[in-house]
Subunit: 87 residues, 4 copies
């Protein structure tokens, strides 16, 4: 769980840095298509962060509420379904 | 479960009918933007179908693998997360 | 334009066939997660079809409304932006 | 264009503030589902920012490259398609 927390905090810091870079581009009136491409990159980084958070929720909170013999399969299936649905 | 099955089959029939209509539009060389808007409508209908299927999976298969006292909340949370993630 | 039309009609036929297969799975009460994965595959096929239609719109209708010397770059940029936004 | 720039900078500042709030939630080990819902809200805010940037690109750069009599319609159609495709 601590590894997951550190990973999440690192991702948040990276995204915040990326946004500051985008703010600079807007301030300097850079080409709008270049700015747009950077915001798409931030969007993808947030989606990846959401996957990490969801995976943490499934293998943490949800796992411990499942009947012991069915936990692993159910978690894996739910993680699969969520991942595929976001592609 | 049977109600859910009928709902799913109805949705599939509607989507197939919609696609036939799109095929006719393409055959008749209708304006590409009008065709594109219809394909987006089909995409939304499929996403709604996926929500119905996921809800069926959660309140069916997943529910019965959860510890009795935690089932309802966990299912509701997962359905919420999934819905929000697709908006 | 005719090549594009044939491609679009082929994609529509494939998607309709895929949906019939899903209907059979539902009729036979197959496992809901397997059905859901097939609907995601259909969703991806429709998104690909939308890309083809949009590309046709850009390099057809939009192209001919652009000033001659700026057409290619503008079309390419718009196609890029749309593609990236759907990933 | 300046109004658009101010709007974009305001949106970026709001998103950065939101991310700082999420970092605090992670630091304080708040419930993962609550954190996840906040990241989805940030994702939606970034998508809205992208719409604003795209609209600026269309009515700025693309507009001036279009033949005078076709500009408005073409821009409106492209903006429509983009909005619908992201719903």
């Amino acid at each position: 769980m601590q590894a997951n927390k550190r990973d999440v905090l690192n991702r948040l810091a990276t995204i915040e840095g990326h946004l500051k870079g985008i703010r600079r581009m807007v301030d300097e009136d850079q080409y709008c298509v270049d700015i747009l491409k950077q915001t798409y990159a931030v969007e993808r980084a947030i989606k990846k962060l959401e996957s990490v958070l969801l995976q943490g929720h499934l293998s943490g909170c949800v796992q411990e509420r499942l009947l012991p013999d069915r936990g692993q399969d159910t978690i894996r299936e739910l993680a699969d379904i969520f991942e595929i649905s976001r592609r």
